[in-house]
Symmetry: C2
Subunit: 468 residues, 2 copies
């Protein structure tokens, strides 16, 4: 029955479960809107809109780290793309960020068995001032082990933390691994180390190091911080396990000064037909690291959010509420775009009715977690019923506060939905040279675009106050 | 019946099909030898001998291109390893090869959309003498298309050939793609081009370029030759397809002079108990390219051939014939070790009864092709019957002449067997930075070691003249 239904009268069949649900609570969408929602789903699952946008961004701009020529190009590209797609309003908002110069890294084991290592500076690392730093390696399995080392026990040494990130559908391993990247250099310096080296925070076995932001601490010496690729970390561990003293040489031409720069949030909106002052928000970040072309992180987010609006723009009329896409500046270096966005606004973001970010790669969405008021939960259940046949399950275990940039808005009380994709392979490419267009799974991209299109349309057509 | 047999009386059960076969032709092995063959199989499928050898080579030596410090280290390592494993004789034979300096490559698209490209110089390429070469790109889908271009039609241009190698179990796609690597720079120069750029000969989508040897031709200008990674080739094609003129900049610090150097074939042998002057030969190459650690190409060949002999050495007595492992020098730059080996010997290699090389990665062997005389084919059928339960099928479609280095011996009339592994993923790693120990499938390595151990034992115990 279902399969026949699916192939003949899709939209009518789809209305059925919702009609049944309406015996429990009022549906947010009328029948015509439900049909339109199904049309949007159908279009999104077929169209290459999102992929075409990612293709354009990665081909015509590529890497776009804050403070590089790619940043300015991406800002111009994003505004032009929004105009091209037919957004009703396009504007930019300037925020303050930082510029860091990566330079080159030369890293090698010099004893007992000299071999070159593939390495990248962590984002924000100082360099070695034209000198090559050579020192004995002090090896720790984890950041905790490093933290337990006695003061001055590492004087002059190069600290190496070999903790290996685990693969998981929800990216759970990242949280356990990324601490070393962020604070490892500070902890090592506090114990007297001359440099900090870590196994990349990544799940791949490619000879690509994973960069990502690190922090120094006032009053603690700034020492160079690099990540080496997983195969290189394996090699270093194997040499260490042979029991002889291991020495390394490091030379980083990274800039020692962080310079303040301006960057733009690029914002586009379609104007609601009945309540234009109420805004449904979708976010992604426009910046990327400098080593790849930012296809997965976060080109697909740019593609999905812009494509969702484009599909809604193609309807004969605008939904009731406005829909805004914010392409945030400078996410990678510390959510600077999102912070600038909220700093420029009313502290409660009262006109932001609900928001969702896309910044977690390109696996298929399989779960949604709402962060809404108790009354609005039934409305979310209705949305979940539309998404359920696509394999997207509702979970209310956690209260969503918004992902990535959107967390800055969620933390101020804006209702949010987190859509969770299969993140198993995200950290194979994350923050590496390997983040390129070919990694985008076009089938998953269409699925995810359909989910975001349906979410945006649903939220913009409903009259529900998601705060309540 | 079979499963019960397998778990209780393995060796006896195994003898059965061979005993049946003996109604057709005399078995090469007696019952005790058949039992020993099954013991060797069993040991080889369990032991980590081959992996331990590859681990040692990649950890303690790593990259070992001819003319680099790694070459000398690998030669010392190989002799020490043969002694450690208990070979009866270990010696070296000096051959003449060439030293080339890779240097660094800087490659980028400069218009219409400037982006950096991941590139490697092809082996033997000249550099740009400290200058940056900037020119328009002339794009060809294939080497054939380039060859069809008119003389002087490419004056000053950078030629780009974008042909994409296809994945295939027998590596079939390599032959179709590698021609451009070897002669592309000559053809481009003949038409007036200033440099030659090609899509890497590889099946992966990693941001790793694949190096490999290229040739210049007397009387044709030597122009720089580089490979770019598959994702970078995709990017370049996408920019070209937008229809605007595309320009590139190239700077290679590769050395312009090829210097003659000496390298060593490292040879180990166990002495036959009855016919020591008759030698069963196994080969692999000791050198590697400089960018990876030569785990797959050809560390596994070193591991498999040495481990096969080690397992036979552990038997209570030596087989009838001698078994020789030749770790060839300088395969990558032109089979120089193999050529030196045959040049130093009787032109018929009459004492070399049969040979097999391992130089095709680490997929599981699924096929063997003999190159033996018609009478000896029945003996090969017997070997194939032992290997058949392991999923290794006999094919007589082609007459094997020996693979890689061993072809130099096979071409002189030495009988050979080609063992064919599943080569589907070999060209994901071939000649890249990514050729590291973690890529070695230990299960397949044991399978392949078992096949080589059984082959070596079988050939060394038989009295068959494989030439007849």
């Amino acid at each position: 029955m279902f399969s026949k239904c699916r192939t003949t009268l899709l939209s009518v069949c789809w209305i059925l479960p919702i009609a049944l649900s309406s015996t429990v609570f009022a549906s947010a969408l009328n029948e015509q809107q439900q049909q339109q929602l199904m049309q949007l789903k159908s279009v999104s699952l077929e169209a290459s809109t999102a992929f075409d946008i990612v293709e354009s961004l990665t081909t015509e701009v590529g890497a776009r780290m804050v403070g590089t020529p790619g940043q300015k190009k991406s800002e111009a590209w994003a505004q032009a793309k929004m105009h091209e797609l037919g957004f009703d309003k396009v504007w930019t908002e300037e925020v303050t960020s930082v510029k860091w110069h990566r330079g080159e890294v030369s890293a090698q084991i010099t004893a007992p068995y000299p071999q070159k290592l593939v390495a990248l500076a962590l984002g924000g690392s100082v360099g070695t001032n034209g000198n090559t730093l050579q020192a004995h390696v002090a090896h720790f399995d984890t950041l905790d082990d490093l933290q337990a080392a006695e003061d001055n026990s590492l004087n002059g040494k190069i600290v190496f933390v070999s903790y290996k990130m685990q693969r998981h559908i929800d990216g759970d391993g990242y949280g356990k691994a990324v601490g070393a990247r962020v604070v490892g250099a500070v902890v090592a310096a506090q114990k007297g180390a001359s440099a900090f080296v870590m196994r990349s925070v990544g799940t791949d076995t490619n000879r690509h190091a994973h960069t990502g932001v690190m922090r120094y601490q006032e009053g603690v010496e700034k020492i160079p911080a690099v990540a080496i690729s997983n195969p290189d970390a394996d090699l270093l561990v194997r040499q260490i396990k042979r029991g002889q003293s291991v020495t390394m040489a490091l030379n980083l031409s990274a800039g020692n000064n962080i310079e303040e720069v301006k960057a733009l949030n690029v914002i586009g909106e379609i104007t609601g037909s009945e309540a234009p002052q109420e805004v449904v928000v979708m976010g992604a970040h426009l910046d990327s690291w400098d080593v790849g072309t930012g296809a997965i992180d976060d080109g697909v987010g740019v593609g999905i959010t812009l494509a969702a609006v484009k599909h809604i723009l193609d309807l004969p009329q605008r939904p009731k509420r406005s829909i805004r896409v914010i392409l945030f500046a400078a996410e990678e270096v510390g959510l600077h775009g999102a912070k600038g966005y909220v700093d420029a606004r009313d502290s409660k973001l009262a006109d932001h009715v609900i928001g969702a970010e896309w910044d977690f790669g390109n696996g298929k969405i399989y779960k949604l977690s709402p962060g809404v008021g108790p009354s609005a939960l039934n409305t979310i259940r209705e949305l979940a019923e539309y998404l359920s046949p696509m394999g997207v399950a509702l979970t209310t275990d956690n209260i969503a506060k918004g992902q990535s940039d959107m967390s800055a808005l969620g933390n101020l009380g804006m209702p949010a939905i987190n859509f969770n994709p299969d993140g198993n392979d995200y950290f194979d490419y994350h923050h590496t040279e390997n983040d390129t267009l070919d990694k985008v799974d076009q089938h998953a991209l269409k699925h995810n675009t359909a989910v975001y299109t349906m979410f945006a349309y649903f939220a913009a057509q409903s009259a529900v106050n998601f705060r309540q």
